[in-house]
Point group: C2
Chain length 306, copies 2
Amino acid sequence: MFFEGSEKRVEVFVSSSTDPLRLLGEKFWAKIVASANAKIVSKMSNDFCDAYLLSESCLFVWDDRFLMLTCGTTTLVDAAILFTEKLGRAAIVSASYQRKSEYFSHLQTSCFNDDVLRLRRYLAGAAYRIGHLDTHHHYIFTSDSIHPAGVIKSNSELLMYHIKGAAADYLRCDKQSSQGIRDMLELERVFVNFTFDDYLFDPCGYSINGLCGDKYMTIHITPQEESSYVSIETNSDFEFCPFSALLSKLQPQSWDVIGFNSTIITDDFPPYLLVASCILPLNDNDTVQFNQYQQLTSEVLLPERL
Amino acid sequence: MFFEGSEKRVEVFVSSSTDPLRLLGEKFWAKIVASANAKIVSKMSNDFCDAYLLSESCLFVWDDRFLMLTCGTTTLVDAAILFTEKLGRAAIVSASYQRKSEYFSHLQTSCFNDDVLRLRRYLAGAAYRIGHLDTHHHYIFTSDSIHPAGVIKSNSELLMYHIKGAAADYLRCDKQSSQGIRDMLELERVFVNFTFDDYLFDPCGYSINGLCGDKYMTIHITPQEESSYVSIETNSDFEFCPFSALLSKLQPQSWDVIGFNSTIITDDFPPYLLVASCILPLNDNDTVQFNQYQQLTSEVLLPERL
């Protein structure tokens, strides 16, 4: 029943002289997705963005950039490289590639250092690890190029580990439905005016994309006991209220917040120990912040028989 | 500069009709050690025990049992199997094999499940993982056989991660000496009446064995920044006073205590969050306890440039 929920993440900005990325069409993007060993399972669009749900996570395509997350044992670096080869190095203004700590890193086909070695054949850039190897950590590669002035993008990620309580039980049961999950997490209330597209995996697991103008959100749920993991990423600027709401519903034992040019507001978080934190300037425009939190209550561990 | 400090651990008890294990001689044990890809670097003895320091950790041989710890990328399961083949299955009363979470598990030549699969060809037994995969955890295999009544053994381990302060700085400098480390950790004061044998590795790293009657202690220090790890194991029954002393000297960011038929006393520990705990009965005689602690102060992470 083990599934690696932890996502790899790539975001690429193209130059203003490049044809709008949405015009490349679904066939193009299906090839990019396939190169990472994933598949498109659903698509929604608005005036700004085509949002794809994938067999492993998601892909958002705007005219000037794309963002792709893939979990499991997918090879997202192949997608990044294929895109660079198809459009040519000159089309790329800036790119970032990220990985997180994984439950079973030895099951992956490459480690972050391997991936960066390959990316650097195309793109010069700096790579870092934030956080210790024996607990949650985050790898980030950013190309040396800088966005044109005035287009600073921000987003925030919340990564939740070891969820419990009624919502977690529901996500693990064999009777859940997409609408049931939306209702339970009150997504319509928290993400007002968003349009959603979601997918329920068999036997469990759930992904949802949401769009509202130029705002996006994406949630991916791996509910399996012993390796449960839920992530949300959004560029909404409503001060982390969805993060607090999700934390209170899903009651994770520990969680990380990654802010990219955004401020981490913890006012409504459940009681926590801030285990560790880091603020890392990536270039003149961009700063990434990594905060690692732990619930204040002790967990009684159940031994896993092997 | 990375070195995997995390140890694998095997302990085997032989039947009373088996020749005393110490009579097998150093040549025999050198072969057992070599099969795990380690070497003997030093030896001390008292009336009860031959205590070897290894290129990767240690080996203690009593007449009725042996205990071997090996770190790095050693293959301790090979040593356990070679011993079983040399003496024959019938000589073995009980055995346990353990691994801990590793900084870089993907650099190991096998995972715990692989090792247990091989061990089970020789010994029936139960295997468990205690603790989540995204943080410190502990694997234990114990054979189904039970010690003869009345020979319940106990021991305790303290595993410290991310040490800091003056002692950590000294352990990382290029001017340390064995006596300097003993003095700094006040080992002679804490382990009264013990005889010691220690070894300073190049460029850094330190191991020490200690014996006092039928009591033993062993400390292994991997001081390297970013993957620092210090372990101590002992069967001394002086209520964890050495653990508190080491915690106060080495100031680890987090630490685990594993008690085998022993009680974990935390009175003099530095302020902590007990992140998680588990008490696992292994059979009618033996119980293992695993406690995971985190310092209450937040750590400011330094990004590691890759």
